[in-house]
Structures are given as C-alpha cells and as structure tokens.
Symmetry: C2
Subunit: 420 residues, 2 copies
C-alpha cells in the first residue's frame, strides 16, 4: 500500500512512523503541530555518500545553505568536513555562526551588494563565484580599497537544458546566471586588468532537481574543453566548481546515485589537476526532513474530498510555487485497511494555492490524526513566511533516540517584533 | 513615456517620484534599500471611496488583514471606522493590537484550530465565516464548553467562475472554500441542532483581483434568491457578507470603480434588511504601496539585458507565484530621453523564479539608481520571507510631508532569534 524506495531514516515500525529511534507521534505530543523533523543520520549519510563517491579526488563539498539554513544542520555537515555554499550576507552570518572555517566558504549570487562583498573579503572566504563583468569590477574595486588579493571563480553559463522546472533552470543563456564563454575568455585573457583578483576558478550550476547525469556530462565536456583552451593560453584553473542540482526522489523519480554521478563525472576530470568543488543542497538535506501536520477537518463537497491540515503554504511553498510533488502518509497506519480514497490535502490559508496534494490516493483518514509530508528537508523551512499571520513551526533534529529542538515555534510577539 | 492612470499619491514632480509631499529618494537616503513605502492618503481614499459608494446602506467594511497586516495600516483604517477580516489567531492578535473593536472583527478560514476558535469566542468577535460542517460542529462544541452564544455566517460556495488567476479563484465547487447550497440548507433548516450558535449570516467570496462586476452580480443573484428561500422558511439573515476580491490596476486593467461596483450591487440588495459586510484588502492597500529597490548591476548577455536589483522574490513573490505584472519606473526620470530598451528586472536570489519583470520596455538605466515597483501594497510584505538568508525590508508610511518608520529593517540576529 505504501511503497518507500527512498533511502532515509523515516520508517514504519508496528505501523507507526519513526525518525531513527523515535516515534514521531511522541515528538508531536511534545512539540506540537505543525512540526519539521530532521534525521541526523540521513543528513550525514547523504553527505558521506557524495564524499565517498568522489573520494579518489578529495573534493571540497560545500553544502548549499539556502536549502536549509538551520545552524544545527550547518554545524552537523561542517563537523563532517563540509564547506558551505552561501548566497548572501545573511548566509555568511549563518556560516560563521556554524563555525565553518572561512576557507571552506564559497559565495555565489547575481546580486552581491558592496557591503556583502566587503564583509566576505574581510572574513577571507575561499572564493567568490562571479556572475557578471560589472560584479567582477565591483569586487576588484573593493579588494583594492581593502588592499587584499581575492580568489575568483568565473561562473560560466554553458547554455544547457537541464530538463527541470523552469524556475530552477539556471544554465541557459536566457537565465540571469553566469557569463557566456566569449565574455569569460575576455576576462581570463585580460585578467591583468584586475590586479587585486586571482581569477583561478570556474563555476557552473545548471539547475536544480536534475535527475539525469546527461546535462551534467554535457556541461562538463564543454567546460573541460574550455579548461584545455585556457591551459594553452597559460591560464591554470585551480578550482573547478561544478555546482549542485543533483535530483532526489520526491515521487517516482529515479535519480542517479552519488556513485553513478561520480562515475559519469570523474572520467571527464582526469586531466584536471586542481580542486573540485561540489555544491549539493537538496541532495543532502531533501529527504532528511519531513513536515508533520494535523488533520483539522475532513470536508466532503459534491465534487471533492478535502483533507484540511494545520500546515500551510507559508510553511512549505514548493507545491504552490513549483507544482512540486511530496509523498504524504499518516503517522499511524494501524487499521488503515479500507480502500484508498482520492483527496486534496490543503492548508488553512485563504487561497487556492495553499495545497500539498491534489487528487491523491490516500487511506481512510480521520480528523485529529497526523500526516507526514516527506521530502521537506530542502526548500521547506528556508522559504517559510508569516503569511496569513501564521507562526513559523519549530524544527527538531533526531539523532538515534535523542531529539533536539533546534528552532522553537514562533509566538505572536515574534510577528510584530520589528514594528515600532 | 510613462502613463499612470492609477489613482494614487505616487507622482512625479520635476521628474522625481514623490509619495504625497515627500521625495522618495530622500526616504531611500534615510532608510536604505530595498524599502516599502505606503501613502496614507491613498489608503484612506480607497477606503472612503467604498464607504461613500455604499453609503446609503451603511455597510461594515472589514479590511482584509492578510493583504497587508502592518499595525499602522490596520490602525489607520480602523480609525476611519473599518472593521477587520481575519483568517488566523495571529491576525486576531494583530487586530486587537490595532485596537479594533471586537464587534467589527469577522473571522474566515477553512482551517481554524480549536485554540483559535476559543480565543476568538472569548474576545467576542462579530462572527465566524464557517467553511464546512465539521467546523460548525467544532465551534458548537467549543461555544457550549464556554457557555456562549456565537454568531455564525455560513460561507456559501456559489460555484462561480471569476475569471482570475487559478490560485486566487475561491468560489468554484472544485475549491476548498465554502459550503454548497444543499448542505447550507440542511444546516439552516436544522439549526436547532446547534444551540450555542446563532446562524444568522451568509458569506460569499468568489476570488481575488476580479476586475468585472459580472461574477459578483451573478453570485449575488444566486444569494438573493437563496435569502428569499430562507425567508419563506422563517429564517432571517442578519448579515450578508459579500467578501472582497475587487480588482485593481496593475497594468492596463480597467476594473470597476467603487461607485460602479456599488451601482451593480445595490439594486440586488433592496429587499435585504440586514447588515452588509464588505471585505476589501487589495482594493484598499494595493496601490497605496510601492517597493523601492536599487540597481546593483546591469548585465548584458548575448540574448538579454538584465537589470539586477537588491530586492528579491523573498520581498515580493507575486511575479513568481502568480505571474503578476507590476509597473516599474525609475525614481529619477531626469535625462531619460533615449529610446526604451527591453530588459528583465531580476533579484539576487539564486533561482530563475526571482524576477519582477520580463522583456519589459524601460528607459536607459544606470547602476546605482533606484526603481519603484508599483502596486506592491497588497500581498507584498505580508508574503515576505527570509529565503536566501535575506533580511526583510523596512516599511515607511507617508502622510503629507511626514514619513514614519512603521517597521524597522531586520538585522542578522533576527534571522536566528528562534534558534537555540
């Protein structure tokens, strides 16, 4: 009836959903609903899978902070040797709070402000992924002012179709990201114009939730040829940052494993003598988290059956924003023996965008029971808001039989803290 | 070159954009960028337009808090006699903080929790808009426990196509909202089953940003007939709540004015002897606010020109979520004499969803100058998040020549306040 082929530590024992060694119903009783629950073991397991798969070349794996920026999550991966991929001054703050060594921090974004650049230079991050010529000029100007030499990776837009949602496609020339090959060449060949920059890296990131290795291979072939071209011009690339974008299983996807991904990628790097950087986010944390929610009302209308839950699109916006699919299942599967029923799972927010599943086959459900929304570890809490005056939920990290509250639930006063 | 037929107090004087009596560039110099700026006069003007248009029947106009829940905005409309339309315990908290008399508060949502219902009953709000039979039973149970008699309006789903975005369509039977006529009749005819409820109102709300009066008229005709049917069964409706959903001008829409809306609606109410409730949100605050943003970089690629600004989809998600159009114009139009150029206006966030305009014709722009994104008063700040580690912007309310900071900019410590 329920088929989970996803590798994670959310499993049923005696028809009760557990996260590692803890029954999730016990967490709900303790911390309330809605509630984000993360598995430490799943998180670290995915990080290590990538680390091992690429082991022979010892890459720096920079976890993508934007996927889930809870400090406990960041600390967990940093403690295992991860670096961090940041995209703002706020994320630099997170990274430093999580005690990430600055020489393991890389910084991407098409819109870095002067203040953010200055802060990152002063903190001595490993390098900036630079997305445009004006940005490069801006970093040069600030580095000069600060009398620093700053490492730069040029983010190249390889013009690749990654076959994913249009909102998370980032490596086509119609996207705002990266620099085309011609402009990149001008920069590399005239790099003496940027005396305070050590332009020594190449960055690509073609999109997110990509389940097939072919777009990666295609992009990397272009980049390998390009690195050869640069070598002929006596330009050595010290850092090759191949970004993130590894897809995970939300529904019935069959994404490449870390191992198969490495097997497709590594042969293309055999002539590369620099450091490889990876920037996985969703791959590491996506299936390490669930959102637990209570069924408030079951509403039968002439055309539909609605399961109305106490979580909303403010807690998890992926279905509304990307039409994303998330597996949903009751915490307690005891006595779920009747036929499946077709339902919409919806939140309390006053717009039709507020749904978690449409026309989904689920077992008979009752008001007051709880559902787990799977695959909510990445781009769940990090995109949450207070829309409809709703309080952000707490987050709990489970490690074996120990559950730790890593973010408390908001209260009403949190909603007006910045108002004078 | 720029044509503004929208009625609001954001106007150019000597090629500089003003909000009422204040040059917006001065506000940016003082409060930084990005920045939300609201016009008090525009806000109140729109409220009064509705109040006057419906003046002969003295409706209770309940401003929809979810559109913009800043306490200063709420206080401004409440001081002019508005009630408030709330959708959660958080919004009840806002309403009470804004000193709204509880007998001017109405509460809608498909997912009211027990705690929220109890709080609202204790505070003696005017009535609940009830969206399902199980919710009605829940309110009866709680009212009985509290030994109270509670006013109820049944939200009827009139099965009307409002011709708006699918995410803000709410009055079709495939939507999660409201109760069909048959079920409503069972409730009204068997209302003695709910001894602690005074089921005395009808609520409809068919969607949002509806620019034509026809769907409203169509829905109201159905409801008028239904009220007649109830009258024949000796059931008197004391409150008729016709919801909100009045469209505004974002681009070239020609929505009905408050006056023409009233002229279409009032004839249908001539036999109704109860109180009319309106729930406008966007209509009142939508064009009373702009989002000001700085141009960080102008990036020319082989296929496109990108204007990269310092505001992102975390500040204003309407373009990403609804494909919404917002007028955009520089604060300073001096020396903007050259030909228009086609550009994408995009934010710094690392996904392609992060845009404010695509293939938009704008005048020649320069890095460092500022843009106004119009029509950002409703569903702007209220949907904002900290995605990508970004700080929420401040809000400023302008009244004549006085600007008041009504929400300070977040700082990095605000981002981790709930983390332990």
């Amino acid at each position: 009836m329920f088929l989970f082929i996803i590798m994670h530590d959310f499993k049923y024992k005696d028809n009760q959903l557990y996260c590692e060694g803890i029954k999730i119903q016990d967490l709900v009783n303790r911390f309330g609903s809605p509630l984000y629950v993360y598995s430490y073991n799943t998180l670290i397991d995915h990080f290590l899978k990538l680390k091992i798969a690429f082991g022979e070349i010892e890459p720096l794996i920079c976890y993508s902070v934007k996927a889930n920026s809870n400090l406990a999550i960041l600390k967990a991966v940093v403690d295992k040797g991860a670096g961090l991929d940041i995209v703002s001054g706020g994320e630099l703050f997170y990274a430093l709070k999580a005690n990430c060594p600055p020489d393991r921090i890389v910084y991407a974004s098409v819109g870095k402000t002067e203040k953010e650049i200055e802060e990152a230079i002063k903190r001595k991050i490993l390098f900036f992924n630079v997305e445009s010529l004006p940005e490069l000029q801006s970093i040069q100007r600030i580095a000069k002012k600060l009398k620093k030499i700053v490492n730069i990776a040029i983010r190249i837009n390889p013009d690749i179709e990654p076959m994913t949602h249009k909102y998370i496609t980032t490596g086509k020339l119609t996207n705002k990201f990266g620099i085309d090959f011609d402009t990149a060449s001008k920069i590399f060949l005239q790099r003496s114009k940027f005396p305070n920059l050590n332009i020594c890296g190449i960055h690509i990131h073609i999109g997110s939730q990509i389940i097939d290795s072919r777009p990666f291979v295609c992009a990397l072939k272009k980049i390998s040829n390009y690195i050869e071209f640069l070598k002929k011009n006596n330009i050595r690339i010290e850092y090759l940052n191949i970004g993130g974008g590894l897809g995970i299983i939300y529904n019935k996807e069959k994404p490449q494993t870390a191992k198969s991904f490495a097997l497709s990628i590594l042969p293309l790097l055999k002539n590369f003598d620099g450091k490889l950087i990876l920037e996985p986010g969703r791959f590491i944390v996506g299936n390490a988290g669930i959102l637990v929610t209570k069924i408030l009302y079951i509403k039968t209308t002439p055309l539909k059956k609605f399961i109305i839950v106490d979580a909303g699109m403010n807690d998890l916006i992926r279905p509304a924003l990307y039409g994303a699919y998330h597996q949903i299942s009751p915490l307690n599967k005891k006595n779920k023996k009747g036929p499946l029923q077709k339902v919409d799972v919806v939140g309390p927010i006053c717009e039709s965008a507020d749904f978690f599943a449409k026309d989904r086959l689920l077992p008979q459900l009752e008001e007051g029971e709880y559902l787990a929304i799977f695959g909510a570890g990445a781009y769940g809490f990090s995109m949450s808001s207070n829309y409809n005056g709703r309080l952000k939920p707490p987050e709990v990290l489970v490690k074996g039989k120990v559950a730790k509250l890593i973010r408390r639930r908001q209260n009403y006063f949190d909603l007006i803290r910045e108002q004078i």
